[in-house]
Symmetry: none
Subunit: 219 residues, 4 copies
């Protein structure tokens, strides 16, 4: 019940909000949104039950806050790559894959939550945030495909959505089947971060190989 770190009044409001948000993120990823009660979250975060409503307005708005917070960084990364004029289409594709993979692996809890929200589509604010990000992915990927096609390094008739589905789908499947992956490949004694490293290495190679086929580019 008593948590020294957060009971003193030196801690800033934004820190406390962030702390609650991270606690909620973990619980939502583990138990699901509906099954995580505000009491669970308040207890786990070491704050008063009524604080959640006062800080965020409601449980639902807290979830929306989490999505706003987590998606900001992703949108920024995508936009920067979109505006980058220095890289070749080939390099951009590889960076695009790499960055997506790293975003998922570094925020696994959130991506589990996002996956469920994508399926259920309950909260319109969240739906719109996710749609925005998806459109960002699509815009960026389409831009660089067109660029590559103009430079005759990518083949024509690339199905943007299918390609993106393969990228996000493959990563997502491994995210939710991490333990099976470890079990199947007899790497169950690996540390969490070692397993993530292995996943990153194998996935990045796997995806780049697939995208070579999809885009038809030559190294």
């Amino acid at each position: 019940m008593f948590s020294f770190a957060y009971s003193n009044n030196i801690m800033q409001v934004s820190d406390k909000k962030k702390h609650i948000l991270e606690t909620a993120e973990n619980l939502f990823a583990t138990k699901g949104y509906d099954a995580s009660t505000v009491r669970d979250i308040a207890d786990a975060a070491g704050v008063n039950l009524a604080m959640i409503s006062y800080y965020f307005g409601s449980k639902e708005k807290m979830m929306e806050s989490l999505f706003h917070e987590r998606m900001r960084a992703a949108k920024l990364q995508v936009e920067q790559l979109l505006n980058n004029k220095a890289l070749t289409p080939f390099e951009k594709v590889e960076i695009f894959l790499d960055e997506y993979l790293n975003r998922v692996l570094s925020k696994q809890c959130f991506h589990r939550i996002m996956l469920v929200e994508q399926v259920m589509q309950k909260n319109t604010v969240i739906i719109n945030l996710m749609k925005e990000l998806k459109l960002g992915y699509a815009a960026l990927f389409m831009q660089l495909v067109k660029e590559g096609q103009k430079k005759k390094v990518f083949k024509k008739n690339v199905d943007i959505v299918l390609a993106l589905a393969t990228m996000t789908g493959t990563v997502t499947q491994l995210l939710i089947n991490k333990n099976y992956y470890a079990e199947f490949n007899k790497k169950m004694n690996l540390q969490e971060n070692e397993l993530n490293k292995l996943l990153y290495n194998n996935l990045t190679a796997h995806l780049k190989n697939i995208f070579k086929t999809i885009l038809g580019y030559e190294q």
Copy 2:
């Protein structure tokens, strides 16, 4: 409240169970398991609230019933292909992809539910059922990869789990982003089954192309 089709007393018990199960499946897929109350399900199915406990024991056991029911067919299909000696590895891969794709597209509601359960991992009965199916996929795919490798038509060092993740992930992503796919490709005026047909055609080609790369086979 009143449903003509099921208010006559000709209907058998198993029909009624099946009807309730299908109604629940739709609701679970739309609103999620937690958010679908047994009252919702009973109302939607046009049966008394107490029937759910009467027929299935509990809400949770009804969910398990649904998984048992839906997975039986899938397991059978996988086993038949596993035992098939007549087909070449190449043919088997194509049938494997095709059958998986058709299973998902013909039971989209269920696959949405399964996706969420895969993420949340709450019910151990369901976890085990899904694990069994996954192991079936892996066993079958591994068998045919080895067969293809022995016949020197597939390349060595195929990552079974990554390949399966790409198959299931790509299909799953399109399942949950169907509307975006239609929107992006300007096919929003298509009928449901026409869109499914389009999805099937594009996905089957896409996946076969990718697996050609992964497995390294030549037509």
Copy 3:
């Protein structure tokens, strides 16, 4: 679930009723009336759930049937002793105590149920049946006390109700504390009927000793 003895149609209706009633008696004594569901009783008796309503009308009426059935014998015994002209008051008191003690010890389940009903006083039919029996006890005891007083073997001013309360209370307390009695007297390895025998012997002596004091008679 399947009980050969009662599944053939040779068994008489009254036997079946009696069988259900005995099963219910055991359950009521063990779990209490409210906590014993008609499903429990039907399952334990190996009969169809709906039979209870058809045989007895309702769960409550079944309970009333049980009280009617069990109290008939008690009332008869009391009346016979009341009408007995051959015995001395002294003998009658001893027989009265003996018979009560034996009734309780041979129908322990029922006396537990009766005790609870006496406290709760929920069903008026049962209340009246119990009142009738109590009045029978009081009438009999009063008659023999007066007879003993007339013959100058019992003292004056005997409090009838207090005397009966001591008789029924002492026996009842031992009924519900049988296990503590065995534990305290280090007789826990005794068989059920051996313990009952011991209880009978000790209780009959104890009560006769007390009643000697209460009534003031001399052997």
Copy 4:
């Protein structure tokens, strides 16, 4: 629904808990534990339905709270008498009988509840609390019997459990047959407290007389 006394906000939490507990005690004594719903209790206490879970955790734990609360005083009284070195065995027996009688008469509702719980033996926490108290009675009574035997004022071979059964049983029977006692002795126009006074006077004399016989002491 509206209770003036408890709708002002001066009342403390512990007062409210106590108030709910007393209301529940009355209902349990009148209708029985199973038949008293938390809605009944909440309505009767003039509090919100959810308060029962909020304060006590559950209906069952509320019952346990009641037993804890009520038994504390009894245990204390027994312990004090056990440790008292100033009184003679004779005086101790009389005080023991007196105190027990007063405890029952001043908490009649609770003793009805306890009687039912003694018969049904459903809740292990409560069973243990009751066992503890019974052992306390037995320890105290045994001590003073031995003391009296050593001083040659009590006879040998006193059956502790039978003697206690007579004490508790006689009082309990009168508790549950109070109205019959009044009716039989033509005291139905007596006030509640006047009847209790009468009961106390008659019972205390009755029990002391019996215990004289049981213990064999001379005044």
